[in-house]
Assembly symmetry: C2
Homo-oligomer: 334 residues x 2
């Protein structure tokens, strides 16, 4: 049906929802309008075999997740995602139906978060699938939160729980190996849906951004946890010129994550510190808000910011101090 026909076909179910979207797909550029808000832009390039493996990630989930990780970057600035562009490089291995699946996932994500698809292109590729997504969002002037503004004595907070997405990934990889080549045999994920969901269908924590706005809190710094808590916390410390102390016992971990870590013979804290792709929010707030944040459901205070000279450390359950390292989830699997 040709490139233009394909884009038209794939994007026809996407309705424009945001008043800031003046014109979407179909011209040289999209037209957006932001009055007294500031505009946020983030972009991601996903390559088959590097960022995703289609043998255990269905295309619809891939589309969904590709959009979500970009929404998450906007939320991590204390903003709201509003528009995305999607560009695809597609090899002959993929059919129009495959692309429909991918877009169905993107559509699901867009509908769940009220985001408009406003552009992109689709072209042939020599090998594999390439997905490039750019997300545009808005934030209130003066309330956009950077990584570089954490202050000594601030509390360090984390939303949700950590390590589950990584355990989900390991489980998917194991089942892939076990069932590789055995036709008709289906992997069994019964009772383990939570960690699989966390890997395949992550959420962008826009609800946390909304919750913070409701209680009138602007974090002093914020990031989303895509590469693992250690790595992200070190980014905040580095860019803010501060140190930190976090407490092993306070890191929020789901029961199923703990069970799976045991099954895989892995240290649970290592998993929670370095397992990535949870897309939870890591943020800091002034110490004076301690009372509020100690009792906020879904948010855990895991430590505090220190002077840079004190380094970035974790206090273990037995009271020892260890230096935080940015292993990232890639190195974990080596």
């Amino acid at each position: 049906m040709g490139e233009f026909g394909l884009i038209k076909h794939l994007t026809e179910n996407f309705e424009l929802k945001n008043p800031s979207t003046i014109k979407g797909v179909g011209d040289d550029a999209a037209i957006l309008d932001y009055k007294d808000k500031q505009v946020l832009v983030t972009t991601d390039l996903l390559l088959e075999g590097v960022h995703f493996d289609l043998t255990y990630v269905p295309l619809k989930h891939l589309g969904y997740k590709s959009a979500i990780v970009n929404f998450s970057d906007i939320c991590a600035m204390n903003g709201y995602p509003k528009q995305i562009t999607v560009s695809l490089g597609v090899s002959k291995r993929f059919s129009v139906e495959d692309m429909e699946e991918l877009y169905a996932g993107i559509l699901l994500a867009c509908e769940a978060y009220g985001v408009d698809l406003v552009g992109g292109d689709t072209s042939a590729s020599m090998t594999g699938l390439t997905i490039s997504i750019t997300c545009i969002g808005e934030g209130e002037k003066g309330k956009i939160v950077k990584r570089s503004t954490a202050k000594d004595t601030d509390l360090i907070c984390v939303s949700g729980d950590l390590g589950a997405a990584y355990m989900g990934l390991l489980l998917l990889e194991r089942e892939k190996r076990v069932f590789n080549g055995k036709d008709g045999v289906q992997p069994d994920f019964a009772g383990k849906e939570y960690i699989i969901e966390r890997q395949l269908r992550p959420q962008a924590r826009m609800d946390i951004v909304e919750k913070l706005a409701r209680i009138n809190v602007v974090p002093t710094s914020m990031m989303d946890i895509s590469d693992g808590l250690s790595s992200e916390l070190l980014h905040i410390c580095d860019q803010s010129g501060v140190g930190c102390r976090i407490y092993e016992e306070r890191i929020p971990i789901d029961y199923l994550t703990a069970t799976m870590a045991e099954e895989f013979n892995m240290n649970l804290t290592t998993v929670a510190l370095n397992g990535g792709e949870d897309y939870e929010l890591l943020f800091t707030v002034p110490l004076s808000m301690n009372d509020v944040f100690q009792n906020l459901p879904g948010i855990k205070v895991i430590g505090h910011i220190t002077d840079a000279s004190l380094g970035a450390r974790i206090i273990t359950r037995d009271g020892q101090e260890m230096t935080l390292k940015a292993q990232g989830w890639n190195s974990l699997s080596e």
Copy 2:
């Protein structure tokens, strides 16, 4: 040096120039601020072996051109490019020096057009080079120009000249074939620099956008010519619900383009209608501006818009009417 080190290294020469750029590279998202302007967004995905061939395109030129084609899309909306994000997928075949070359080209383009680099990422790829660029620009409210608003009797105008970039491509391809495998033998482009430049170092016609603003003209519709005049004109007719008449003798063609078309045994008008990548602007203005546009240097009136029922036609030098077809430049080379 790791992904973060590499991005930092590659982007350190890029200084922020635009007041609308609040925060560039280094956080989850860039922060932009547009007051009474509208925001324009365009995106492009370029794949090695599909959109470019590194055997005759130096990486620096590739970087330059990748940025320019996005700037051109913003200009085609009667806007000004202001920020770009650049994401790269890079296989092991490429060195850090290669990436520096690519970014040197992007930097050249950014400096020439006053554009800020505000984000992106770099990741390993399995094969080849993938470049994804998103450009953000601004336009004055009420003066942004779409493809869908051409009116019956409007004049059809084209900037610069057409077909040169395509002739440059054919020349580069011929020389590649001729000299393939012969070490030390250099292709000879003497006297043919113009068409090579048009292919490797195209311009975004921001100067035309500025010129139109100076004489207080807002086109009724506009596009940039990336796929060839025929194809783009048919887009305008289709989306505006109109027809057109253009005149073969009025299509602006450079002397060298004509010489090369003869050398390649190609019909010159076919080349000018379907050879793409000139990145000139195609636009329409009200008939009442005829006197102004007949005498504007660098802009040629090539025909007029008609009622849809009259179709999209070209009047040949001998007075015949022929239907315009959207061959695009890809089909030309088959």
